[in-house]
C-alpha cells in the first residue's frame, strides 16, 4: 500500500532540477515564473513525504500549505509587475529588458 519514500524524494529532486533548468534557460518572464513554481512544488513533495512520519503534528504538511499560499501571492504580484513591464517596454523577453530608466 505504501510507497517507498526514496522514490518520492527522487521524483522531487528531478522536478527541482527541471525547474532550475527552466529558470536558467528560458527567456520569457512567465516561463521563468513557471520554473519557480515547479521548484516550490518539488519542495512541497518533500515536505509531504517527511510529514507522513509525523502523523500527530504533521508539521510538514502545514508548512507546505503555507508555501502554497505564499506562492499564490507571489505569482499574483509577479504577474501584475509583468503586465506593467509589458505595457512599458512592449516585450517580456528577459534579454531585452536592459533599461532601468522609466
Amino acid at each position: 500500500m505504501i510507497m517507498n519514500s526514496y522514490l518520492f524524494l527522487t521524483v522531487a529532486a528531478a522536478l527541482f532540477s527541471i525547474g532550475l533548468a527552466i529558470v536558467l534557460l528560458k527567456r520569457h518572464v512567465i516561463v521563468v515564473l513557471m520554473g519557480i513554481e515547479l521548484m516550490l512544488n518539488a519542495a512541497n513533495i518533500n515536505l509531504a513525504v517527511f510529514s507522513q512520519y509525523d502523523p500527530n503534528r504533521i508539521q510538514g504538511q502545514m508548512l507546505a500549505l503555507f508555501v502554497m499560499v505564499v506562492a499564490a501571492a507571489e505569482s499574483a504580484v509577479a504577474l501584475a509587475i509583468v503586465l506593467q513591464v509589458y505595457r512599458h517596454y512592449k516585450t517580456v523577453q528577459l534579454d531585452e529588458l536592459n533599461e532601468l530608466r522609466f
Binding site: S51, Y53, M62, V77, V82
Partner: protein, 177 residues
Amino acid sequence: MIQLTFYGFAALTLGGALAVLLTRNVMYAAFFLLLTLLGVAGLFVLASADFLAVAQIMIYVGGVLVLVIFGVMLTHKPDTKTNADSQQPNRVPSLNRLSNSWVVTVLVASGIFVTLYSLLSRSSFVLLQQPIGWESTVTRVGMQLMTEYLVPFELVGILLLAALVGATHLAGRKTAD
C-alpha cells in the same frame, strides 16, 4: 497497483515539466504546467496528504494557472518580422550563445540532480524506517490550523489579502498621468 499509480503520476509530473522545458510556445508551456501540477497532486495523495492535494488543485490549477494563462494572453505578441532578414547578421552569434547556455544549464541541472540522487541512494534516514500507513489528514490539518498554527494562519491570510490588493493596484492603469 499502487506502484503503477505512483509511476503514472511521477511520469505525468516529470513529463509535463520536461515539456515545459522543451517547448517553445508559452501557451503550450502553461498547459503542460497543468499536467505537472495535477501529477504533483496525485503524488500528494499517495503520500497521505489528501488535503494538500485538494488544496494544490484549487490553488494552483484554479488560481495560479489561470493567472499565468491570463498573463500569457495579455502579454502575447504575435510573431511579427522579428525573424526576417534584418536580423540575419546577428543570427550566428546569438545561436552560438544559445547553445552555450543550453550546455551550461543542462550541466548545472543534471549535476544537481546527480548529486541529490547519489546522496539519496547512499543515505538511510532513521525516520524513514518507521512503519507508516495511509490515513486521511483532513481532520488533523483542521485541528492544527486552529490550535498550533493559528497565528501563522491569520498572518498568511493578511499577507494574501495585502498581496492581492497590491497586485490589483499594480496591474491597474495609471490615470493620473
